[in-house]
Symmetry: C2
Subunit: 117 residues, 2 copies
């Protein structure tokens, strides 16, 4: 079982490739077979399978086989985890800007550093 | 100049490492010198510099040197770009669920696949 930090490593690593992001975008629209996933991509089926393995290893995608057809679907919870980490940073940043804004409102006449007045 | 897709590759790659995420979390709280960034990390200064280079290469972090002190600060716009990509996927996913919900509300008596009734 991966801890949250190791899982985030893998999720961001999985998203650090345009082909894998294309596959995620396709699966967000609904489940797809491996050949449907491969169709718009200019690469061999084994290469597509390798990308799929990366997406499955971090839990972004699950797949199941019925007969000869493997169907893939997205697991949005893992994507949400990555979004939450970034959103937490953005919120902290915005709070910092707010505090800076409050400070400048409370002390509008604080001279610039280096001012000689 | 990187296009958006190549930039996203680099940003997600930069975030795919717990040490670099720690550095981003620290810089979100405010600018820091390289030695301040390195202090809580159990690694050599050259290793910290390597991580910093990855963060600078994708524009997540900028740094400037005054005298012997290099000070780093975060560039939140690039982080926002990564968040936007993920948020777009989540929104598309939620719309798909909404459409599915509407369908099930409009046609509540559609039998399950495989039903023999």
């Amino acid at each position: 079982m991966l801890n949250d930090s190791a899982l985030l490593d893998r999720v961001f690593q999985a998203l650090a490739d345009a082909t894998r992001r294309d596959m995620v975008e396709r699966l967000i629209r609904g489940p797809a077979s491996v050949s449907e996933l491969a169709r718009p991509l200019a690469m061999s089926l084994p290469a597509v399978m390798q990308h799929l393995q990366v997406l499955e290893a971090c839990g972004l995608v699950r797949s199941g086989k019925v007969g000869r057809v493997r169907t893939c679907h997205i697991e949005p919870g893992v994507l949400r985890m990555a979004e939450d980490w970034i959103a937490t940073q953005r919120t902290s940043w915005e709070h910092r800007l707010d505090r800076l804004g409050d400070y400048l409102t409370d002390y509008p006449d604080v001279p610039d550093q280096g001012s000689t007045s």
